[in-house]
C-alpha cells in the first residue's frame, strides 16, 4: 500500500528545485513514471551543455542568435499585418472594424476591415483550420498557404500543384471528373460556390467558410453534397 506521502507526491506541485525540500523522500526510489530528478542530475544537465565555468557560460550567452525569418506563409507582410501585433484581441478588432464601417456605409459590413478569418475544412483532415483572407492578395497566395497548412495530410492530389491546376480552366473538367480536390466556399447567402470565379476582393468580402472537397464529390455541387457540407461545418 502506498504511503499517503506517495499519493501526496503525486498530486502536489512543488515550487522548489527537484530534490530540495519536501517530506524526506531523497532515499525513496521513484514509483511514478515521471521520476524525481535529483539536484546532481540538474547540475549535470547544466555542465553537459557548457563545460566552462559560470563566467564563460554567461559570455557564451552574449552571442547573438539569428532572428528567424517571418513566420507568415504569405509574402513578407507589411507592418500592419504582422500576426498578433499589436496585441489587440480578435474580439475587440472585430467590433471596432465593424463599427468603423457602419459609420462609413450602411450595409457594407466587411469591406475595409483589417481581417477576415474564415474556417477551412479539408476532406480527410481530422481538424479544421482558420485563415485570415486579408493576409493574401490573390487566389494563388491563398492556395500556397493552404497547401502548406494541410501538407501533412495525404489527401490525394491536393498538393500545391493540384490546386494550381485548378486555376487553369481547361483542366477544370478533368479535375472535377477525377479524384483531385476542389476548393469551394460558402458565401454570404449561404450558397456553396466554386472558388475562383469572382475577382479576389469580391471573394474575400463574400466568403464565410472554405471547404476543399474531393473532386468526385464536387461534381455539380449537388444538393446532397451541399447539405453534407453544411452539416459538417
Amino acid at each position: 500500500m502506498r504511503s499517503i506521502m506517495g499519493d501526496y507526491e503525486e498530486t502536489e506541485l512543488r515550487l522548489g528545485l527537484p530534490g530540495a525540500g519536501g517530506g524526506g523522500n531523497e532515499g525513496e526510489t521513484s514509483r511514478n513514471s515521471s521520476g524525481k530528478r535529483g539536484f546532481l542530475e540538474t547540475v549535470d544537465l547544466n555542465l553537459n551543455l557548457n563545460n566552462s565555468s559560470d563566467g564563460n557560460q554567461v559570455e557564451d550567452m552574449k552571442q547573438k542568435n539569428p532572428i528567424p525569418a517571418s513566420t507568415d506563409s504569405a509574402k513578407p507582410p507589411n507592418k500592419a499585418q504582422v500576426v498578433g501585433w499589436p496585441p489587440v484581441r480578435s474580439f475587440r478588432k472585430n467590433v471596432l472594424s465593424v463599427q468603423k464601417n457602419t459609420t462609413a456605409t450602411d450595409d457594407n459590413k466587411s469591406g475595409g476591415s483589417s481581417m477576415a478569418f474564415v474556417k477551412v475544412c479539408v476532406d480527410g483532415a481530422p481538424y479544421l483550420r482558420k485563415v485570415d483572407l486579408k493576409m493574401y492578395q490573390s487566389y494563388q497566395q491563398l492556395y500556397d498557404a493552404l497547401s502548406k497548412m494541410f501538407s501533412s495530410f495525404t489527401i490525394g492530389n491536393c498538393g500545391s500543384q493540384g490546386l494550381k491546376d485548378f486555376m487553369n480552366e481547361s483542366k477544370l473538367i478533368d479535375l472535377l471528373n477525377g479524384s483531385d480536390c476542389v476548393p469551394t466556399y460558402e458565401d454570404k447567402d449561404g450558397d456553396w460556390m466554386l472558388v475562383g470565379d469572382v475577382p479576389w476582393e469580391m471573394f474575400v468580402d463574400s466568403c464565410k467558410r472554405i471547404r476543399i472537397m474531393k473532386g468526385s464529390e464536387a461534381i455539380g455541387l449537388a444538393p446532397r453534397t451541399v447539405e453534407r457540407c453544411k452539416n459538417r461545418g
Binding site: 499517503i4 506521502m5 501526496y8 503525486e10 498530486t11 502536489e12 506541485l13 515550487l15 522548489g16 528545485l17 527537484p18 515521471s34 530528478r37 540538474t42 544537465l45 547544466n46 551543455l49 557548457n50 557560460q57 554567461v58 557564451d60 550567452m61 552574449k62 547573438k64 542568435n65 539569428p66 532572428i67 528567424p68 513566420t71 506563409s73 507592418k79 500592419a80 499585418q81 504582422v82 500576426v83 498578433g84 501585433w85 499589436p86 496585441p87 489587440v88 484581441r89 480578435s90 474580439f91 475587440r92 478588432k93 467590433v95 471596432l96 463599427q99 468603423k100 459609420t103 483589417s114 481530422p126 483550420r129 482558420k130 502548406k148 497548412m149 501538407s151 501533412s152 495530410f153 495525404t154
Partner: protein, 589 residues
C-alpha cells in the same frame, strides 16, 4: 504522539480558509491535516488544464463544488496559437459529471466548449448555479438553450468575450417561467437579436439581478423598459447606444437611469451617439467602473462625460480620449486605480489621435491610487517612463504597447531600457509587466535584478542575445508565466535554466531561435515538463537539429504528455522518435 484537535474542530477551523494558498499550506502540515483539508475543499482553481488530470483531481478532492480551469496560453488571444491546439473541457466535464453530482460552479477561460459539453453540464449537476465562459469557443446558441432550460437555479451566466456561433436568439426563451434566480447575465458577445419580450420578462421576474450586460442588438429605445424593471442593477452593459435624436427617447432614458440608485458599473456603448451620453449624468457620480472601450465617441463629448464620474476607480477607453482627456481625468478622478487605453486604429502607423506619453504621465501624477495600466500609444520616452515610475511606486500591473515594434525613445532615439528599468526598480510590488519598443539585453538585467515580485512578463521584439533571457529566468524569483515572441533568444539560456521552468506555470516562445535539438534535450531531461513544439509548416525533424522551432510551449505537469494534440504539435520526451513516425503516417486518430 502530539495531542491534536478532534477532526471536526479542525474542519471547522479550515472552513475559514478560502484561499488556495492557505489550504495548500495547511495540507502540508501532516497526514491528518492533509486528509481533513482535501475532504473539505470545495473550490479548486487549475491555471493550466494540462498540468493535472481530472482523475488525479477527483481522487484527491472528492467533494468539490466549484471548479475554475484555464486552457490555452494567453497569446492565443492574439492568434498566435493555431486553431485546434487544444484546451478541450470535454474530459473534465465527463469526469466531473460522474464524480461531482453536487457541482455548482464552472468557470472556464480560453477553453474549447461544445454544445454537447453544455448539454452534459445542464443535465448532470442538479444544483448548478454559475457558468462563466471567458474567451471560450466551440459552442453555439443551441448549447446555451440547454443551460437556460435545464439549470433550475441558475444564478450566473457570463459568456465573457467568447466566440459563440450565433444560430439564433431563441435560446433565451428557454429560461422557464419559474426561473427567478438570476443574479448575473452577460450576453454582450452575442450577435443576434434575442426576443426582447422574453428578456424583459426574465429581467422582471429576477429580483436579485445585479449584473446585466446586453448585446449590441438590444436597441437603445428599449433600454428604459429593462432599467425600470431592474432598478436594483449594480452593473449595466448597454446594447448599441444609438438612436435617432428624439426627445422622448432621451427623456425616457434619463428617467430610467434616475431610478438606478445602486448602479456602479457601466459598459457596452457600441455605436455611441454622443447626444445621448448626458442621459446618464444622474448616475455618473456613483459610477466606479466605466468601460467605454467600444465607444467611438470623441472629444469633447467623451471627456465631458468621463469628467462627470468623479468616483471612478476603473476606466477602459479608446485613444479618442487623447492627452487632453487624460489630463482632465487626472484632475477629476482622484480614486482612479485602473486605466486601460485601447487603440481605435491599431493598424494605422500614423494614428489620427493626439494620444502620447503625456497623457499617461499626467494620470500617473494626478491619480495617487493608480496601480494598473494598459496603454497603447505611438511614442514613448525614457523620461516619461522614469516620471511614471517615480510618481507611482505602488504600480502592480504595467502593460505598455508602443504600436511600432522596436520603436526607440522618440526624443533621444535610444532604447527604452532605462525607462523600464526605472519601472521595475521603483515599483517594488510589480506583479505583471508587458514591454514594447526598442529594448536591449540591458533591460532584462534590470528586470532580473529588481523585479522580485514579478509573476507575469510579456516580451516582444526585444533583446539581443540569450543573456537577456538568462537574466529573467535566473533573477525573477516569483515568475510564473513568461511569454515571448520574436526575440533572439535561443538554446543556451533555456537549457541553463531548465529547472527554473518547473517552478513556473508556463513558458511560451514563438519566432525565437530555440532549436529543435534543444527542445528534444529539454523534454528528455525534464520529465515533469511538457515541452510542446508547434510547427505548422511541417514536422520539426524534417530539417537539421539546429533549425529553430516555430513555437514552443513549456509547462509543468503531473499528468504527463497530453493525448489530444493535433498534428502540428509534438511533445518532446523519451519517446520522441517513435512519436514522429506515427505523426507522419497521417495523424487521424
Amino acid at each position: 504522539m502530539a495531542q491534536s484537535f478532534p477532526e471536526d474542530v479542525l474542519e471547522h477551523v479550515f472552513s475559514f480558509l478560502n484561499h488556495d494558498r492557505d489550504r495548500n499550506a495547511v495540507s502540508l502540515v501532516c497526514k491528518s491535516w492533509y486528509d481533513i483539508e482535501r475532504l473539505s475543499r470545495r473550490r479548486i482553481f487549475i491555471g493550466n488544464c494540462y498540468a493535472v488530470s481530472p482523475e488525479i483531481v477527483i481522487r484527491r478532492f472528492p467533494d468539490v463544488r466549484a471548479v475554475e480551469l484555464k486552457g490555452k496560453p494567453h497569446f492565443a488571444d492574439f492568434n498566435l496559437v493555431p486553431e485546434g491546439w487544444g484546451g478541450y473541457v470535454y474530459p473534465w466535464v465527463v469526469s466531473m459529471a460522474g464524480a461531482y453530482p453536487w457541482l455548482e460552479e464552472i468557470k472556464l477561460k480560453r477553453m474549447v466548449v461544445t454544445d454537447e459539453n453544455l448539454e452534459l453540464i445542464s443535465k448532470s449537476f442538479k444544483n448548478f448555479t454559475v457558468l462563466v465562459l471567458l474567451s471560450c469557443e466551440g459552442f453555439t446558441t443551441d448549447g446555451l438553450a440547454y443551460i437556460a432550460a435545464n439549470c433550475r437555479n441558475l444564478r450566473e451566466l457570463d459568456l465573457g468575450e467568447s466566440e459563440v456561433e450565433d444560430l439564433s436568439g431563441h435560446w433565451l426563451s428557454h429560461f422557464p417561467d419559474n426561473c427567478t434566480s438570476l443574479v448575473s447575465l452577460n450576453i454582450s458577445c452575442l450577435g443576434s437579436e434575442v426576443s426582447f419580450s422574453a428578456l424583459e420578462r426574465l429581467v422582471a421576474r429576477c429580483p436579485n439581478l445585479k449584473t446585466l450586460r446586453l448585446n449590441r442588438a438590444v436597441p437603445l429605445e428599449k433600454l428604459p423598459n429593462l432599467l425600470c424593471r431592474a432598478p436594483q442593477l449594480v452593473e449595466l452593459g448597454t446594447g448599441a447606444y444609438s438612436a435617432e435624436i428624439q426627445s422622448d427617447i432621451f427623456s425616457n432614458l434619463s428617467e430610467a437611469f434616475l431610478g438606478c440608485k445602486q448602479l456602479k458599473g457601466l459598459s457596452g456603448f457600441w455605436d455611441v451617439v454622443p447626444a445621448y451620453l448626458p442621459a446618464m449624468y444622474s448616475v455618473c457620480s456613483q459610477i466606479t467602473s466605466l468601460n467605454l472601450s467600444y465607444a467611438t465617441a470623441q472629444n469633447p463629448d467623451l471627456v465631458q462625460f468621463v469628467s462627470q464620474c468623479g468616483n471612478l476607480q476603473r476606466l477602459w477607453v479608446l485613444d479618442y480620449i487623447e492627452d487632453v482627456g487624460l489630463e482632465a481625468l487626472a484632475a477629476a478622478c482622484k480614486d482612479l486605480q485602473e486605466l486601460r487605453v485601447f487603440p481605435s486604429d491599431p493598424y494605422d502607423a500614423e494614428g489620427n489621435v493626439t494620444l502620447t506619453e503625456q497623457g499617461l504621465v499626467a494620470v500617473s501624477e494626478g491619480c495617487p491610487k493608480l496601480q494598473s495600466v494598459l496603454y497603447f500609444c505611438r511614442q514613448m520616452s525614457n523620461a516619461a517612463l522614469v516620471a511614471i515610475a517615480r510618481n507611482r511606486p505602488n504600480m502592480i500591473r504595467f502593460r505598455l504597447c508602443i504600436i511600432e515594434p522596436r520603436a526607440p525613445d522618440y526624443l533621444t532615439l535610444e532604447p527604452l531600457d532605462a525607462g523600464f528599468g526605472a519601472i521595475v526598480e521603483n515599483c517594488k510590488e510589480l506583479l505583471r509587466l508587458s514591454m514594447s519598443g526598442l529594448l536591449t539585453d540591458r533591460v532584462f538585467e534590470y528586470i532580473g535584478t529588481h523585479a522580485k515580485k514579478l509573476e507575469m512578463l510579456s516580451i516582444a521584439f526585444a533583446g539581443d542575445s540569450d543573456l537577456g533571457l538568462h537574466h529573467v529566468l535566473s533573477g525573477c524569483e516569483s515568475l510564473r508565466k513568461l511569454e515571448i515572441r520574436d526575440c533572439p533568444f535561443g538554446d543556451k539560456a533555456l537549457l541553463a535554466n531548465a529547472t527554473k521552468l518547473e517552478t513556473m506555470r508556463s513558458l511560451w516562445m514563438s519566432s525565437c531561435s530555440v532549436s529543435f535539438g534543444a527542445c528534444k534535450l529539454l523534454g528528455q531531461k525534464m520529465p515533469r515538463l511538457n515541452v510542446e513544439v508547434i510547427n505548422e509548416r511541417g514536422p520539426p525533424d524534417s530539417g537539421p537539429e539546429d533549425c529553430p522551432v516555430e513555437k514552443l510551449y513549456v509547462y509543468r505537469t503531473i499528468a504527463g504528455p497530453r493525448v489530444d494534440m493535433p498534428g502540428f504539435v509534438w511533445t518532446m520526451d523519451e519517446r520522441v522518435s517513435s512519436r514522429f513516425s506515427r505523426a507522419t503516417e497521417g495523424h487521424g486518430d
